[in-house]
Symmetry: C2
Subunit: 209 residues, 2 copies
Amino acid sequence: MQTSRTIPSRLAKRAHYDADTVHAILDEALFCTVSYVMNDQPMAIPTAHARKNDEIYIHGSVGSHFIRQIQQGGTVCISVMLTDGLVLAKSAFHHSVNYRSVILFGTARTVTGEAEKMEALALITDHLVPGRWDDLRPTTDSELRKTTVLAFSLAESSAKVRTGGPSDDPEDADLPTWSGVVPMQTVRLAPVPATGSEPPVALPAYLQS
Amino acid sequence: MQTSRTIPSRLAKRAHYDADTVHAILDEALFCTVSYVMNDQPMAIPTAHARKNDEIYIHGSVGSHFIRQIQQGGTVCISVMLTDGLVLAKSAFHHSVNYRSVILFGTARTVTGEAEKMEALALITDHLVPGRWDDLRPTTDSELRKTTVLAFSLAESSAKVRTGGPSDDPEDADLPTWSGVVPMQTVRLAPVPATGSEPPVALPAYLQS
């Protein structure tokens, strides 16, 4: 949604407000940065998240200072960035980055219903490793009580996306300098089993690639 | 340095304050998130950075709302996170992430000297692609005038690091659930030359891997 907080002051052509774009970025990014204000000063914490419809969930210990602070209802700014490539122009000035980012502003809704809380934890777990939740023993009542789940609406969210090659000045076109994009990607390597786990357990299908 | 803002309220055993740890994380991470307060509300912007000694530099357009806001001298919170692996325990509750993060609090010093400004831009460029700066035509006075460079002291910074496998409850040890770590890594793929760049330029040595 376009509000004074989500319309970028520069490069507005890179802004997107459609749910599909925002959702795809939030779903691909495993981690977000939660920024908030405490004693008039900025604080920021990276954490895992998961989306359901037009909300995202985060979680933390009920004893977490961070969680307790944002439960008080102040505005929170949540940002994610996926970096897709380094854009190398013929001048330093036009170097850039291909990225997909989302920013959202909102206030925390503490999830109190046990069923929704459990579903949110399943979504966060399966966001990191799809299929993991159903392979785990049930979460206990005690574990659930020790965990706070917060939801944030995506109503005031926006995406910014840069794609493509460098935009060089025309007078630089013939410089004998390589220009283009160095693509970047986050990859998962072969899983490493925990030591001392006896009897050994076969790697589940959802971890085989 | 340990201050009330850099001592974590939880998991203090993961905190590190030595310069070597903080520097290594800032040097490996290409991007940071700059959080600040505007009209009593949190804002966050991802950007590139580079370190020199006990400061980091960021840059932006002189017209950037973000840059102009933090030049006014309010406290800024800069955070970076490198994710090294997903930690899969036998219970959802003990799932975790192996990460290396840095957080720092400070106020912007606007770099006014032309030589320092140019050096900072070279450091930011070479942080993304080592060796790139010397391959580029000189930055012009006009480009330099359009760019603001800000420096932040690392005096009030700290790192948090988690490594190793899952920490399961002893009573879960014999569950037939795979546990361990899925390592994650950010990789660079083969460079893609810009279209319409004539005559073709050979890939420089610093981009060959």
